[in-house]
């Protein structure tokens, strides 16, 4: 490519010479993390900092009759012991509802329980001491007199008239219900040759971020200002909520987010114990640190899934899918989480079931009920794994019923690649998807026919292997339609400020955040590419409400698509401003100049005219030498939010190849394939690793992970020895391929990729297990697919 063709006016910024877009480049922040020189919240120490430990209810539902902290208060090193009523003088309660989720209700929740604890693990008192060890010792001396109350644990009976109502003021245990009836469902089932139904059961599981939730809250009474150090995905949301409930102006709250040890949606919410920590700092006028231990993580980090979803599908004998119908039930704990609410997952299930397919006939009901278990809320791929497992499970059951190959039935029913734009029966608008291209690519990558031959050959030797396919759609780049329209102050727009510093480097402040996805890298890649500056000379600042533009943060696969576009637009303005100054200095015109490799060059022949470093020196230190009337503006800010489409839908398809040991019930994962379409790929390696990590989270749900409660609402496996997570030994290699359908809503064209892996992995595994066990007549529609479940289905136990 010649320099002459590089003018931004005629060429996409994505195709500039030395562009980093589409390239594998190492993330700038890795050395810090690899050398143990990161700064996670758990590493932060401040002068006069106290440590808080929460005393938590051992009962799932109990009245708090009395708290006696006399002995604990006498311990050396104890600073304060604070119960709910006292803390409520500093921080107000909240109710986790959104107005666009019609009918959603919840009860006021306090930072520390007052009078009543509603799940095992709810904090009933805070013990603040000079060290965590002292606080833990003191906690053992605090005695709480509880009166146990009846518990609601089984979601199936939560709505029965004889079941106690957890919050009497709400009238019943129903938090939310949504009904949808699209097309002509009854006629479609009546016209089907076969109708297949099943109940799909999803275990409650949780995020198990390796770094537990952690907060350091520092109220400076002299400044009347609160600084919150927190590993959060959404700093401005935390700022808003903390200010609102502490009675402060937003400007009196600063949220700083340094390195975060995993998030996955776990750290996008506001937890009662975090609110309590902010309030304790204000109450005690000193920094207070809270770091959850692993037991607390299991008992208080949001749980997810825990759905029972009945579904049915109608098909013609030729494989045409006529209709889907579902009835979904989920239990969310005693409160809807704040501020994103706990109705979103069920709502997503209704939205997404049947999403990849052309049929217009779809009926759904979803009910969300309260129970005395830990709170449940949005975790990576919210609703997607449920919807995908139900849809793809039903499609496979239908295919088996009419004797069609699983790939073939999908080919006959997936929305055609030339049918876009179009909408789903639930009203989702698809700009451009690529189901068929993705499926074709997947079939090639896995050599589907050869695998089927292998499967048949191995069957004869008593080895039972299975292939599972799962197509999916994925919600990314959410607009205000997700939260803003419902009244939540969660920004859907993001901002980026870029400036040329005095040595010709670029400083970039973005409102998206980094938890390992590569936000810092993709921002630097975009800004470097657009500016013509090498990546080493782009410094990205994020995670600080005092020092970044206002924005949403990183969640729901929005960082690259929304924050990336803001970065692109900001860099374009800065580049134009730089060229204006260069033209003035060089007595040229901006159109005749370009920025390439950290220097101003002739657009025509690429001849070096002036280094950016020298331009910056003149602007900042010798402005007296500039022509009259020139005021350089070497800083530019742009914001972006999607407006045309509420969500940028993406799509993909996964396949699992596994072996089931019919004697032990163990499943051995042999290989996994994913083809997904996230539009423009900014950094292929980052995308692939998002997919792989997401897949493994889905595999954990498919085979291992489950929060096991007993009938009294006691979580019985709240540790990492009993709650099983995927470890390297059991995980397969995962091949990732791509189809690229850019969104035309942005110049960047990027959609998200963060949920894709988790969305379809469990469905692919469940379909593969059923495929492996088809000769035995065993059908399983429950995850995790434990050996016990498999042996039971095989009638071996």
């Amino acid at each position: 490519m010649t320099a002459a063709s590089t003018n931004l006016g005629t060429l996409s910024v994505l195709d500039r010479p030395n562009s980093y877009i589409g390239k594998v480049v190492p993330r700038p922040n890795l050395d810090r993390l690899m050398q143990g020189r990161g700064l996670y919240v758990s590493d932060i120490e401040l002068p006069r900092m106290a440590h808080v430990v929460f005393l938590r209810s051992p009962h799932a539902h109990a009245r708090i009759m009395a708290i006696d902290a006399t002995a604990a208060r006498r311990m050396a090193g104890v600073i304060a012991i604070v119960a709910g009523a006292e803390l409520a003088t500093v921080i107000t309660p909240w109710v986790g509802v959104l107005s666009h989720l019609k009918g959603l209700k919840s009860a006021p929740q306090h930072a520390i329980a007052i009078d009543r604890a509603c799940w095992q693990g709810e904090a009933v008192a805070a013990i603040v001491a000079t060290s965590r060890a002292v606080a833990e010792d003191a906690a053992e001396l605090v005695s709480v007199d509880y009166e146990e109350l009846p518990v609601v644990t089984d979601m199936r009976t939560a709505l029965d008239p004889q079941t106690p109502v957890i919050h009497p003021s709400l009238g019943d245990n129903l938090a939310f219900e949504r009904n949808l009836d699209a097309g002509a469902v009854d006629a479609a089932f009546a016209g089907s040759d076969e109708v297949v139904e099943a109940e799909f059961i999803f275990g409650r599981h949780t995020g198990v971020t390796l770094e537990p939730r952690a907060v350091v809250a520092d109220w400076n009474a002299a400044e009347a200002r609160l600084t919150i150090y927190q590993g959060t995905q959404a700093p401005h949301m935390v700022q808003n909520i903390a200010a609102l409930h502490l009675g402060l102006e937003e400007s009196a709250v600063r949220v700083v987010c340094k390195d975060v040890g995993g998030s996955f949606g776990i750290k996008v919410h506001i937890y009662a114990d975090e609110m309590a920590t902010y309030a304790l700092s204000k109450l005690l006028r000193r920094p207070v640190k809270f770091v959850a231990d692993r037991f607390e993580s299991f008992n208080t980090d949001i749980h997810a899934r825990d759905h029972r979803c009945w579904g049915r599908i109608g098909v013609k004998r030729d494989g045409t899918i006529m209709a889907f119908e579902i009835d979904d039930l989920t239990g969310i704990g005693p409160y809807s989480m704040y501020p994103r609410t706990s109705a979103i997952e069920a709502n997503q299930v209704v939205n997404l079931v049947g999403g990849p397919y052309a049929t217009k006939n779809y009926r759904a009901r979803a009910r969300v009920v309260f129970q005395n278990k830990n709170v449940m809320c949005q975790y990576r791929a919210v609703g997607h794994p449920i919807a995908c497992s139900v849809t793809e499970g039903l499609v496979d059951l239908a295919a088996a019923k009419i004797g069609i190959d699983p790939v073939e039935i999908r080919r006959r029913n997936l929305i055609a690649d030339d049918a876009y734009p179009c909408a789903s029966p639930s009203g989702l608008r698809f700009e451009l998807l690529s189901h068929h291209a993705a499926l074709n690519k997947l079939v090639d990558m896995m050599d589907y026919d050869a695998l089927r031959s292998d499967q048949a050959a191995l069957r004869k030797k008593g080895i039972h292997r299975g292939i599972g396919i799962a197509s999916f759609i994925e919600v990314t780049n959410p607009s205000a339609a997700f939260y803003g329209v419902g009244g939540a102050r969660i920004s859907s727009q993001d901002g980026v400020a870029v400036r040329l510093d005095a040595t010709g480097s670029v400083i970039c402040q973005t409102s998206i955040t980094e938890q390992g996805q590569g936000s810092e890298s993709l921002t630097a890649q975009i800004v470097g590419s657009v500016m013509g500056v090498s990546m080493e000379r782009v410094r990205v600042i994020l995670g600080d409400t005092d020092n970044t533009p206002y924005g949403g943060g990183t969640w729901a696969s929005r960082g690259a698509g929304i924050g990336g576009e803001a970065a692109l637009q900001a860099a374009k303005i800065l580049r134009r401003n730089v060229l204006d100054v260069a033209a003035a200095i060089l007595q040229s015109s901006p159109a005749e100049l370009d920025v390439v490799d950290n220097a101003i060059v002739n657009a025509s022949d690429g001849l070096l005219r002036i280094e950016l470093r020298e331009l910056a020196r003149i602007v900042y230190f010798r402005p007296d030498t500039l022509p009259p009337g020139i005021q350089p503006e070497l800083m530019a800010t742009r914001h972006f939010v999607p407006r045309q489409y509420p969500f940028a839908f993406t799509n993909g398809v996964q396949a699992s190849w596994l072996e089931v040991d019919t004697d032990t019930g163990f499943v051995k994962l042999l290989r996994h394939w994913v083809v997904e379409d996230c539009g423009t790929i900014i950094n292929p390696q980052l995308v692939d690793e998002q997919i792989r990590g997401g897949v493994v989270q889905g595999l954990g749900a498919a085979l291992f992970e489950q929060c096991i409660y007993d009938e009294r609402g006691q979580l019985t496996n709240a540790n990492m020895a009993d709650y099983l997570v995927p470890m390297s030994g059991e995980m397969p290699d995962i091949d990732v391929g791509h189809v690229v359908s850019r969104t035309s809503e942005t110049e960047l064209g990027a959609k998200g990729a963060g949920e894709a892996g988790t969305a379809g992995a469990a469905a692919a595994v469940a379909n593969a297990v059923n495929d492996a066990l088809r000769p035995f007549g065993a059908v399983m529609t429950e995850i995790p697919l434990t050996p016990r479940l498999i042996l039971a289905a095989l009638r071996r136990i």
Binding site: P26, R27, L30, D31, R32, L33, M34, Q35, G36, R37, G38, L39, Y40, S42, D43, A133, G207, V208, T209, L210, E211, P212, D259, V260, G261, G262, S263, F264, D293, R294, Q515, G516, Q517, G518, Q685, L686, E689, R692, G693, G694, V695, V696, Q697, N719, M720, A721, V725, P726, M727, S728, G729, E730, M731, D733, I734, G757
Partner: protein, 157 residues
């Protein structure tokens, strides 16, 4: 109790309560915060350090048990350059996302590479199966360890 030990080549003398575990001692007394605490019950591997040449879970060992021992943490291994090739492989392969497991993962990987010249992928997966990573899905980590092993053995990557 008074303990005397060597940490990353420096002589350390300290008074510690008998109940303080080695992870907390390293992090809180010596401010070596590269050693992470993930589960505090010996499952996740984030706190892996080297004691007298063997990798241990520092959350399962008391600081007083390290009396007289030689302890190496991620800070020491990084500064000595012992694992610079492994770290470069992790960087090139994006074998970390949030990075919280990474110090422990590097410790465990280096331990394997010292034991065995050319471990195959299954062996690498096995050796690292006591180190939990929620972000990567492990494949990139396995790739990075495998390529380091090959490079150290003089093979083409």
């Amino acid at each position: 109790m008074r303990i005397l030990l060597d940490v990353n080549g420096a002589r350390v003398e300290a008074d510690v309560l008998p109940r303080v575990n080695l992870a907390d001692f390293l992090r809180e007394h010596l401010e070596l915060t590269g050693t992470h605490v993930g589960c505090e019950h010996g499952v996740c591997g984030a706190c892996t350090v080297r004691v007298n040449g063997e990798i241990v879970r520092s959350c399962l060992m008391l600081a007083v048990q390290a009396h007289g021992a030689s302890v190496q943490t991620i800070e020491g291994l990084s500064d000595s350059g012992e694992i610079s090739d492994l770290q470069a492989a992790f960087r090139d392969r994006n074998a970390l996302q949030c990075g919280f497991c990474t110090p422990g993962m590097l410790m465990a990987a280096q331990d394997l590479l010292q034991q065995q010249e050319l471990p195959d992928r299954q062996r690498i997966r096995q050796h690292l199966s006591g180190n939990y990573c929620r972000c990567t899905g492990y494949q990139a980590i396995i790739d990075a360890v495998e390529s380091t092993a090959r490079a150290r053995a003089g093979h083409a990557p």
